[in-house]
Subunit: 230 residues, 2 copies
């Protein structure tokens, strides 16, 4: 069994767990607090970011999109119609664009800030950046959610899955991101009917179950978080 | 000829120009100021970031690493020992890790801030974020350069090219980043002999020539910028 260093509220880590889950491959999970800059972790990944996969031979594979490419090259290509990626270069570029949209753009505009301010800072030591939430950062992140929900709603209303006719990494990246924001109660689903229908489909998949069981210290999820009918 | 929307001082755009240059393929360049949020550009790429490649059939391919994967899939695989990528999954993960190190991590800790504060803000309209440079942001970015130069120096001293025995995307990502910082005169090469020797090799390649000829409005490069013997 491979090992994943992760944090339960990081979208990039949830994305990797979903991808392995879709392929029916269990991972040994180690929860890492990257802000603690643990020596043993930094020796695996001097960049200090999550997720890190210990692949075959305990070689560290660093970062969500790098792990996704590795997973496709070593497993995905054999999965036929269950593959989370495709053959054509243009379609691959579209899947990668959307994966980056959620794991890089939405992450830097929304997710990272809300997770840090609302879930992590209260439990971080002051020297690692802990303290009271910064309400300006929260307001700025919240102002950006709407744009990402609108885009997701547009994609979900235009295509069966976000990158086209089949389930791909793009759906997992978007669902991982939205699941974190939903845990925090930050999403108003009423306004985004197509996104909600698409997310319900994702949420009902077996790969999603472990994410719906995640709980973080001192912060309960919104009441509908684990409901398949919300 | 394919078209690249780029900015001459963005490392991610320089990376793509170097990659096409190594394959001997000329690009039509269109300089884009993403902070102006030009409608025609946003219709190609709603994320609004650079670079964007108009590939075959004028399909937009968005983002440096997505373009690099596309380039490898459509050209690189045919280039044999000139290929900027490799076959093995583990080695591919290492090249992708280092490419991200420079184009994502160094970008967000150093490059983006120095480019924005020193080169762009003086010419940006106030409503797009223009104005006087923020000296706190400049100081913070400068404090982070040392760490990235030390790491580059260690890689260059340990391996012939940064990801191993051959020239790959990792070298182009690092050199693109360092070339921007060098233009701004932000690198003290005396302390980093191995990095300097490696960068000199890169700088002497024909693919680098167009970058050394780049000039941006109101900001001349440091005197040694285009010298091959600096």
């Amino acid at each position: 069994m491979l090992t994943l260093f992760h944090h339960p509220l990081f979208a990039s880590c949830r994305f990797v767990r979903l991808a392995f889950g879709e392929y029916g491959e269990e991972l040994a999970l180690i929860e890492e607090k990257p802000w603690m800059r643990r020596k043993e972790f930094l020796s695996l990944n001097p960049a200090g970011n999550l997720p890190v996969l210990l692949a075959e031979g305990d070689v560290p594979i660093v970062g969500a999109s790098v792990i996704a490419e590795y997973l496709d090259e070593t497993r995905g290509v054999l999965k036929r119609d269950k593959r989370l990626f495709v053959e054509g270069s243009m379609e691959r570029a579209e899947i990668r664009r959307l994966t980056d949209w959620y794991l890089v753009k939405a992450e830097s505009e929304v997710t990272r800030h809300l997770v840090r301010e609302r879930a992590l800072k209260p439990h971080m030591p002051a020297e690692a950046g802990g303290g009271s939430p910064d309400s300006t950062a929260i307001r700025a992140a919240r102002a950006n959610i709407r744009q990402h929900m609108k885009y997701t709603n547009w994609l979900a209303g235009t295509r069966h899955w976000l990158a086209g006719s089949r389930l791909t990494y793009a759906d997992l990246a978007a669902a991982a991101t939205l699941s974190v924001l939903d845990y925090l109660g930050e999403i108003d689903w009423r306004e985004h009917v197509a996104a909600r229908e698409w997310y319900t489909r994702l949420k009902s998949r077996p790969s999603f179950r472990p994410l719906l069981a995640d709980r973080v210290r001192g912060l309960s999820p919104v009441s509908h978080y684990a409901d398949l009918d919300f």
